[in-house]
């Protein structure tokens, strides 16, 4: 799956455009950044309801290419600026966490581990 596929599947709005052709192999959905940092996987997308700059920093530490804000939450200019510097795509979807994760799972994306 590539970043542009996630835009289609989640009917998402592009808030910051990074590399839309970057390959996404796994996904992680959480509002707790330390839980995200605990389960490092290659080329992940992060789905979160948390909206603050540390979401971008966490994604950056994990080499993630894309962050999806769920339930129509909007990142502010500070967050967008941080993502721009790092070439991280920011998306916004109206779907809730459960549904957003379910749609991506249904399209073949997995968590990257067996549990």
């Amino acid at each position: 799956m590539e970043v542009h596929d996630i835009v289609d599947i989640l009917e998402a709005e592009i808030v910051n455009e990074g590399d839309m052709d970057a390959e996404i192999k796994t996904a992680c959905g959480s509002d707790m950044m330390s839980d995200v940092l605990a389960f490092v996987k290659e080329q992940s997308v992060l789905l979160t309801g948390l909206v603050n700059p540390q979401v971008v920093r966490t994604a950056d530490m994990m080499d993630m290419h894309c962050i999806v804000f769920i339930r129509g939450k909007s990142p502010d200019d500070t967050i967008i600026a941080l993502a721009k510097q790092r070439d991280i795509t920011l998306l916004k979807t109206r779907y809730r966490m459960f549904t957003a994760c379910g749609k991506l799972y249904d399209a073949g994306l997995r968590g990257g581990c067996n549990i």
Binding site: M32, L37, A38, V40, T48, V55, M61
Partner: protein
């Protein structure tokens, strides 16, 4: 080959929440530039970032000293915060003393110190209640 030493001041989360993580970002960039092993770079970035966030949130900031050698990276995080009363408990996944406002920032799930240990080859904690904490972590290049 001589080591490369880097020093940073880490702000408190109250003063500058956006700035927490800047030191880790800078170290990650530097390691990338010099072509360090990517797996080691990621471990350093995550462990240092967790430590930096901890200092910013719990200890009112502090200092970070990083020494980059061909064979390893040493990260020393020094704060003058409240200290850790029970290190053994603090090392357990899910154990947290973080107040609700910290959790609302996306941290305080009780994964900080366990994550730091997980991503480093050695981790040493010196702490004294009321005086502060110094954490020294080493990540081997290979």
């Amino acid at each position: 080959m001589a080591g490369l030493e880097l020093k940073y001041a880490v702000p408190s989360a109250e003063e500058d929440f956006l700035g927490a993580g800047e030191a880790s970002t800078s170290v990650k960039k530097k390691l990338r530039q010099i072509g360090y092993n990517p797996e080691a770079v990621r471990k350093v970035a995550i462990a240092m970032y967790e430590g930096e966030i901890n200092m910013a949130i719990h200890a009112g900031g502090g200092e970070a000293e990083v020494e980059i050698l061909p064979q390893s990276v040493t990260i020393k995080l020094i704060d003058h915060g409240p200290g850790i009363a029970d290190v053994e408990k603090a090392m357990q996944e899910g154990w947290s003393t973080a107040p609700e406002e910290v959790r609302s920032l996306g941290f305080g799930a009780g994964m900080g110190l366990p994550n730091m240990k997980k991503y480093t080859d050695t981790m040493d904690i010196e702490t004294e209640v009321g005086k502060g904490t110094t954490i020294t972590m080493v990540v081997n290049a290979q």
